[in-house]
Amino acid sequence: MTTRRLASLCAGFALLATLAAPPAKAQETVLRVAMTAGDIPLTAGIPDQGFEGWRFVGYNLYDALVLWDLSRGDVAADIKPGLASSWAIDPNNNRRWIFNLRRDVKFHDGSPMTAADIVWNFQRFTQESAPQFNARQFAFARAYLGNYEGIEAVDDYTIAITTKQPDSLLPYNMSFLMMVSPRRSAEVGNDADAFARNPSGTGPYRFSRMVPGERLELVRNPDYWDRTRIPRHDRLILLPMPEASTRTAALLSGQVDWIEAPAPDAIPRLRSSRMQIVTAPYPHNWAYQLNFVDGPFADVRVRRAANHALNRADFREMLGGVALESFANLPPSAPYYGNPRRYEYDPARARALLREANCLPCRVTFAISTSGSGQMQPLPMNELVKSQLEAAGFQVTLQTMDWNALLQVGREGRERHQGVHGINISRSLQDPFNGMFRFVWSRQAAPAGSNWGHYRSAEMDALIDQALATFDPAARLALLTQVHEKMSEDAVMLWVVHDLNPRAMSPRVRGFVQAQSWFQDLTPITIAPR
């Protein structure tokens, strides 16, 4: 009897316990990403760590006035409305752009976004006397504000930006400037480090937690203003893993779901484990900027000879197929690619051109790096360039340095480095200015800009000025195409390959569309259960 009573008592308790227990919580879905960066990108607005920082942190925590449309994989990505729902040039002043802001946007801390907040952010980028001025944000923003003159709030939801000269490409530049919450910044006394530890933006993800140097965790922002881009997973974990073999092992062992840039020789192994490998052309080139003043590349025949000397198929093979042969500055998918002169592999022609230019053997020196952002596999690739150029009549000296030192050579320009005839710094070509103008515009001659070798052409300058002053997209596209074709005609660089940007992900990752861009949209991704 006693036993039975005990048993029924137990059963009663068990039933009560079951009833009292909260309903089983739905499993949180998590996307874990291994980045190539050595540290967590800066979380206080415009990120560091190159465009990878923008890709994973910048555009996830924050928005810019203008965003990139990353929803399609079949066309090169272009800009779309962001915090500004529309923009137009002032009909009475072609140096004044009007941006109309969205009215339904809130920062993650709950404060509404208005024109005053945008003006406050521009002061943070540009005005040294402002309490919110941030030296690093100034440095990051400056590359996109070269033509910026001033900003004003026209009303609560309209701003006007004036430029030093007419600039039809300004909206592209606006896409790189992340807007942070003034309220949160004030809460932490405008201390950028304190802000970075508890950031507040308007992006599709909110900050959750960070272990410096180890991981950054973001969570879905259910109140995101663009309802179509509310993340379809609950949490995004970003892990810095600079070593390619470490990333590959982390994916294969199930520690992460997504890795950036697996080593090309690991791709067959990843495929055999049913991992998804995605590649797409995007605006990147692995090339040499040349010296147009000192040394043999001042002669266009020598520049053309170098471009004919390379058998780019060999590079593609060496990189396991994850590169696209580069015959011009932009990949053929670029809207302003046009019909550029094609530098096919023709060592005999290269030698003939060198003979004609009276430079045989033609001694050239390139500054190269051992590693660096976007540099792919710099040492073996440079060795292959050297051997192919030498087979066609060049004599190549490679000056090897670390990435930091090469960046300095790049910024200082040819004047300080007259013994160097080319620099191998991979560039992002995300928009017309960054993809073309800065390399060939005389106003951009280093150290003022990225025209390292001081290319000068009155015709090119005129084309660029005209494109900047043309606000009709179709007419401007024709001018941009002419600029690209002229860059090829003048062989302004020694082009080698475009990276195809491989990334690998577990079979559980669904719904990702690889855009033809440096940036990617992670929000549509779902994670299938194990």
Partner: protein
């Protein structure tokens, strides 16, 4: 003894000054500077100059050094140029991770190597001795980054038993398997070199002591062999401890490759990042702290040695 400790600690001051001065000079002699990697490649030279001014990097090196020294003397290590975080926090976090790895690795290495070395020393000249020596040579010779990759392939990729890299991401909890599992592969990898070195030192120390006269006397007095060995080990321990201390010091700053393969956020990894980005405050702070750890570890080993063996007199 107290006076000796004070003297040794005071002697660390010129060491610290020398180390920091050489380090500071080397960073500025190498091409490049902290601002180059701080900025995107597209930033122009004018921006670089303006930022140098804002960060105070445009002043003469001597003034920058003096200012840094003054701040460190008042306990302020400054902020990282690369990420703006306080240097002392960066060092604390990464050093904590590395101390954990180095301490466990030396402990594992010592446990294995001391047993192997003692057996080999006692059986000097036999096949056991040769086998142990073989293991020791192998331990020292295998490149540890290679071993790291092989262990990851076997235990993480193929068997899927252990994580391949990283940490659990929180403060280390020694009772949680979730935390411990991340340590196993790096600790095994890092302990291989000390195993070889400590085993060889133990072997030669034990075999030397076993041939000394007092051992013969102990045996002649009829002491059982285990008690003879106890006396022998006590006499052989000082040089082994000295080597162990040095190995701990080496692991504290010298595990850059292993930390990179395992994406372990330790001091070696922090140093390599700081070198690549010329992050002077982090570089200076980390090297200074590592140098001091070296000094203190050596002092601790010395003191421990003299406790074990009173013949080692300190003035």
């Amino acid at each position: 003894m107290f006076g000796y400790v004070i003297r040794r600690l005071l002697a660390a001051i010129p060491i610290a000054l020398g180390v920091s001065m050489v380090c500071f000079a080397l960073v500025y002699l190498a091409p490049g500077d902290p601002i180059q990697t701080l900025l995107p490649p597209d930033a122009d030279a004018e921006t670089v100059e303006r930022l140098k001014r804002l960060y105070g990097l445009d002043r003469p090196i001597v003034i920058q050094y003096a200012e840094w020294l003054y701040r460190v003397a008042t306990g302020d290590f400054g902020r990282s140029i690369a990420n703006g975080r306080p240097v002392i926090e960066e060092i604390q976090r990464s050093l904590g991770n590395t101390v954990l790895l180095a301490f466990l690795s030396v402990l594992v290495a010592f446990s294995i190597a001391f047993i192997l070395g003692t057996i080999a020393g006692r059986k000097s000249g036999t096949w056991i001795d040769r086998a142990v020596t073989g293991v020791a040579v192998l331990g020292v010779s295998i490149p540890n980054y290679w071993l790291a990759i092989v262990l990851v392939i076997i235990f993480s990729v193929e068997l899927m038993l252990l994580p391949s890299s990283g940490t659990a991401g929180d403060t280390f909890d020694p009772t949680s398997w979730e935390h411990i599992q991340y340590l196993i592969l790096p600790v095994i990898t890092l302990s291989m070199i000390p195993v070889g070195i400590i085993a060889r030192t133990t072997r030669s120390a034990v075999s030397e002591v076993m041939n000394q006269e007092f051992v013969v006397t102990l045996r002649a007095n009829g002491l059982p062999e285990w008690r003879v060995l106890k006396h022998a080990i006590k006499n052989a321990l000082p040089p082994v401890l000295a080597v162990m201390g040095l190995q701990f010091g080496t692991l504290m700053g010298g595990s850059i490759l292993v930390e990179t393969v395992f994406a372990w956020p330790g001091s070696g990894y922090l140093l390599s990042k700081a070198i690549l980005t010329r992050d002077v405050p982090v570089l200076q702070g980390t090297i200074l702290v590592l140098a001091m750890i070296f000094v203190v570890t050596n002092l601790a080993v010395d003191l421990f040695q003299s406790t074990l063996d009173p013949r080692i007199r300190r003035g």
